[in-house]
């Protein structure tokens, strides 16, 4: 169970399959994540990236296959269970509760408590600090998240996990709604986390430049299977784009030239 670089993989996914009714979302997926590694996962829309992530974090149950954490097989029963195993997730749909304030959302299900009561003061202070860290401006941490802009909402979801001190972070398009500045800032944060070497991350990103900036390795998920796995050092935006887009480009250009 040791990865090429000699260290034990914190996460291994083996032969995972998943169907929704008649839709096969994942077919015999294998994937590994080394300690301290940042893995980029790319693929077409509907390729099954989010589904894979939701299986690892216990939200979905796989139809077959197994998951190993630190080399030990576990059946991740629920999101709560995954958290107790040190896995935390930023969902593509953000999983925010519109009715709650920014700071309550940021600490949802991980609320600091004092004498059985919520420690709101602490949550507020930390929430403000985290958002400042990410360069995201929000009118007030007490406002309901329903009233926030798309990027502000995403920042909250990202902050929720990134500051959770989990050992495995799964980030599903964490930068999709972020502005240029905020995107850079969050990538910096990811690099900081990586530098400390305690956290392993799997990030789904559609922007290949960003992938190359922070990831150690990149996997391509196509039609429910991993079809490409290479260290970022040995690939380029062009290669990745070609892998995914070339086919279409060619067809399109052919069409145009007709």
């Amino acid at each position: 169970m040791t990865s090429p670089n000699g260290s034990t993989d914190v996460l291994r996914v083996e032969h995972i399959s998943k169907r929704f009714g008649t839709v096969t979302a994942l077919r015999d997926v294998n994937l590994r994540l080394a300690k301290g590694e940042v893995l980029g996962l790319i693929g077409d829309n509907g390729a099954g990236k989010s589904t894979l992530m939701k299986i690892i974090c216990g939200f979905h149950q796989p139809d077959s296959g197994r998951i190993l954490i630190d080399g030990e097989e576990v059946s991740v029963k629920s999101v709560d269970h995954a958290r107790s195993l040190g896995i935390d997730t930023v969902y593509q749909d953000l999983a925010l509760i519109n009715e709650l304030s920014v700071y309550h959302n940021m600490f949802l299900n991980r609320e600091p408590v004092r004498f059985g009561l919520l420690n709101n003061r602490k949550m507020r202070a930390l929430a403000r600090a985290h958002l400042d860290d990410m360069g995201v401006h929000i009118p007030s941490v007490e406002v309901e998240v329903a009233k926030l802009s798309g990027g502000q909402r995403q920042a909250i979801a990202v902050a929720r996990s990134v500051y959770s001190r989990s050992k495995i972070l799964l980030l599903d398009e964490p930068l999709a709604a972020m502005g240029a500045k905020e995107g850079v800032q969050i990538l910096d944060l990811v690099r900081d986390l990586k530098a400390r070497g305690e956290v392993s991350m799997m990030i789904i990103v559609h922007n290949y430049a960003q992938i190359l900036e922070v990831c150690d390795r990149v996997n391509l998920l196509q039609h429910g299977s991993i079809t490409f796995d290479r260290p970022t050092a040995r690939t380029s935006v062009q290669e990745l784009t070609d892998l995914v887009v070339a086919e279409y480009r060619a067809a399109r250009n052919g069409l145009r030239s007709v």
Binding site: F59, S78, V79, D80, A82, R83, T89, Y91, D93, L94, A95, L96, I97, N98, E99, L100, H104, L108, N109, E111, V113, G116, L117, L118, N120, P139, S140, E142, V143
Partner: protein
């Protein structure tokens, strides 16, 4: 009330992006007022007070101590049940059976004491526990078997009605001797017992709702079920727990009422009547039927508003038939005013 609405219109702006400096009015006063206005219960409170003022001017008996007892006794059971109903509604569920559980609980106490020879206090606990167990059943069928709670608790409603009627022979029973004493006084027979219990219970659940993880998770579950699940909130546990709370509170309200009217009546909650009043109180207080938001204190104030209306029009001497007409009209007027007030409130809110 020109002062209040004036205040409502003004929007203090500490968090203003434009950085408009805060006006130099006395800060403490403003903070107290803002704190009040920020609470979503503010508008219902204003409505409750306005009704009080109106009825006090219409009948001098309204403000007498005796009548205050009347009002609190009428409001308390609905306010207590509303605590549970608010939690349930916020988490996206409902319990239609809570009113018949209120009827069952005193019978359970009666059977326990008079038939099974159980002492007073354990018998009362047993009566409460019956509520808890029924709530657990509701929760199980709803959460695990996935029957919509409206239907689950409709079934439970009939089931418990049947239990009450068959075991009691559809006939009222007397308060058992072992509890027809100081215990009974504490539990509803004494004039202010209702108020005391209502205050304690409402305060407890208010804190539970706004200051504990339970409350937060209740809102999450009702506000965004999928999101709450994704965040790892134990959705099933929250819902089950709220069913149990609601049913237990129903049982407790039933005991209070039985001791107060000093009889154990199979029709105590009026079938769906008590449930209906409690849900109305909750919604009047600002709880959304669709889940995700609500307030415990609002529910209690809603119960107060309904009790005031009932008491006030009776005091004035409106007879039954026109009573409904007037009641309906005033509910509509009061609630239109309520919505108007809370819109003003929101307009003046800081965030």
């Amino acid at each position: 009330m020109p002062d209040i609405s004036d205040g409502l219109r003004e929007s203090p702006a500490p968090a203003d992006v434009a950085g408009r400096p805060a006006p130099d009015r006395p800060r403490l006063l403003r903070r107290v007022r803002d704190g009040f206005l920020r609470r979503r219960e503010a508008s219902v409170l204003v409505v409750a007070l306005a009704l009080g003022v109106y009825f006090a001017s219409a009948s001098e008996a309204f403000l007498t101590g005796d009548n205050m007892v009347n009002i609190t006794q009428a409001a308390a059971p609905a306010a207590i049940v509303a605590c549970g109903i608010v939690l349930l509604l916020v988490s996206g569920e409902i319990d239609l059976s809570v009113g018949v559980v209120a009827a069952l609980a005193p019978f359970m106490m009666h059977y326990a004491i008079d038939f099974w020879g159980i002492p007073a206090v354990p018998a009362i606990l047993l009566a409460l526990l019956t509520g808890t167990v029924i709530g657990l059943g509701n929760g199980f069928v709803t959460v695990v078997l996935k029957v919509p709670s409206f239907i689950t608790t409709l079934g439970t409603f009939y089931l418990v009605t049947g239990i009450v009627l068959t075991t009691s022979g559809a006939y009222p029973a007397e308060i058992p001797v072992p509890v027809d004493n100081q215990i009974g006084q504490w539990l509803g027979a004494a004039p202010w017992a209702h108020l005391a219990w209502a205050l304690v219970i409402v305060a407890f659940f208010h804190v539970l709702f706004i200051r504990t993880r339970w409350g937060l998770h209740t809102i999450s579950v009702g506000g965004n079920l999928l999101g709450a699940q994704e965040a790892g909130v134990r959705v099933g546990r929250i819902k089950m727990g709220n069913f149990m709370i609601a049913s237990t509170l129903g049982a407790f309200a039933g005991l209070l009422e039985a001791f107060r009217v000093h009889t154990i009546d199979p029709n105590l909650g009026g079938g769906t009547g008590l449930m209906f009043t409690a849900v109305s109180a909750a919604v009047i207080g600002g709880t959304a039927l669709a889940g995700g938001s609500g307030t415990i204190i609002g529910g209690a104030l809603g119960a107060l508003v309904l009790a005031e209306l009932q008491n006030g029009f009776n005091l004035i001497g409106i007879s039954a038939n026109p009573y409904f007409l007037i009641l309906g009209g005033s509910i509509l007027l009061a609630m239109i005013a309520n919505v108007y007030l809370s819109r003003l409130r929101r307009a003046g809110k800081t965030t």
